[in-house]
Amino acid sequence: MTSAQLKNLVEAALLALNSPLTVTELLAMFEDGPDKPDRRAVRKALDELQRDCAGRGVELKEVASGFRYQVRTELADRINRLFQDRPQRYSQALLETLAIIAYRQPVTRGEIEDIRGVSLSAGIVRTLFEREWIKVVGHRDVPGHPELLATTSGFLDYFNLKALEELPSLGEIKDLSQIEPDLFEQTGPVSDAGGAPAAQDAEQTPVAFEDDNVIPLQRS
């Protein structure tokens, strides 16, 4: 591998992962062997990439947990305007996931997938963690030791609850759905095998799935 190829790969890796990477982590891209670059070569690639950023809108910065590309803060004002006109809301998938965690805790990702019948996107879980609504409380003792997810006190605070016991019981929820069927049909694109009703919803709600978790409203 030439040093130019190595540099390309390092740049691409840092931009693809969007989390700081150390030299050691970057080296995980290569199998052990004579072709594996050494730390010095990676370091050199990083130096060059850093220099390449001179005069650009992004810079390669070394932070505590490694290197990452970041947008220069001088440009923040203008770029922030791009976020501005994007009011957001949570996707149906995220809300359902949160509800399952609330009622079935502690619960693993796999169990959530079983209940929803759809695989769980990493973005949803990340968003829930970022909002500090969920936490890991342990690991299930099965192969893979999946994490057990539960809601936090922050979740209770946000929803103005003193304790989980204050959440309505499942029976009450079912009643609710019988009383106000219209409300439920508007909550998302739910389709089921025989049923036509669900499909209709999809049209009504611009349920976007950008970033898996948060939806910019105006783009449908």
Binding site: Q70, F83, R89, Q105, P168, S169, S177
Partner: protein
């Protein structure tokens, strides 16, 4: 392709069985033998009766336009019988196809009028469907081969430390969450194996708070987990939570000697 049609069995072996990445394969891979216990998996590999039928035709190197209906029907029926013998749950569509094949076969066996009459070949509809299905099966394969975000092309992004707007994340009401869960429940009822039974929430909540308190490295005294002030119901809930945690193998409960103190710790 007239030659191919006339060729029949004699030259069948020379014709490519399939084109894989530009290389014609004229032999069926030997590793296609399916051990009986893998049958279920094997059948699941078929996306439906058309897929199975297409497989039977392709593996004999036949063109869809000249299906030997009796032979293919027989083979198809063998699969169906086998599935029934093994008591595999058979999608209704497979039986519908069996009936269709049987009907075509019987019509083919009837003495037919002279070819100049414009009566349609009994296989015409089946051939049309097979062709159409094959086209989309291929299209699905092509789609799968396209570069895909997150697999072949990774979006490049940089951190944005200056990001300020929308610091307040979307608002959600509890009602919305409840509606979402009602939706999950409604859907879950469609699938009986996804049954969500009613469970006292307080036990679940207590399970989490116990997990929060105990550690993997050291044992926590059993008694410490109970809050006497909560009275009898509170104590019972804690006990139930501990038992449930033990049942789910999330905690380990230990007692070194008879009547000695009981300890609890999280399972690593």
């Amino acid at each position: 392709m007239p030659e191919q049609a006339k060729a029949g069995a004699a030259t069948q072996e020379e014709m490519p069985f399939a084109i894989v990445q530009g290389v014609p394969l004229s032999e069926i891979p030997r590793d296609l033998y399916i051990p009986p216990d893998a049958l279920e998996v094997f059948l699941e590999a078929f996306a439906g009766p058309l897929d199975l039928l297409l497989y039977l035709i392709k593996r004999q190197n036949l063109d869809i336009l000249d299906i030997p209906i009796a032979r293919v029907t027989e083979q198809y029926m063998s699969y169906i019988e086998l599935m029934e013998v093994l008591q595999l749950e058979l999608a209704g569509e497979y039986l519908v196809m069996a009936a269709m094949l049987a009907e075509i076969k019987s019509r083919m066996l009837l003495p037919r009028p002279e070819p100049e009459t414009d009566e349609e070949d009994p296989r015409a509809e089946l051939v049309r469907r097979l062709q159409e299905y094959e086209i989309f099966k291929q299209a699905a394969q092509d789609l799968d081969d396209l570069p895909r975000l997150g697999r072949d092309c990774l979006a490049a992004w940089a951190d944005f430390p200056g990001k300020q707007v929308n610091a307040s994340p979307p608002e959600v009401s509890l009602e919305t969450i409840l509606q979402s869960f009602g939706e999950v429940l409604r859907r879950a009822e469609v699938f009986s194996h996804h049954r969500i039974e009613r469970e006292p929430l307080s036990v679940r909540a207590r399970m989490v708070s116990i997990l929060d308190r105990i550690k993997v490295e050291e044992f926590t005294r059993f008694q410490e987990l109970f809050v006497v002030e909560e009275g009898r119901p509170g104590v019972i809930v804690v006990l139930l939570a501990l038992l449930e945690l033990a049942r789910e193998a999330l905690v380990e409960i230990a007692q070194n000697e008879i009547n000695g103190p009981i300890y609890v710790r999280a399972v690593a």
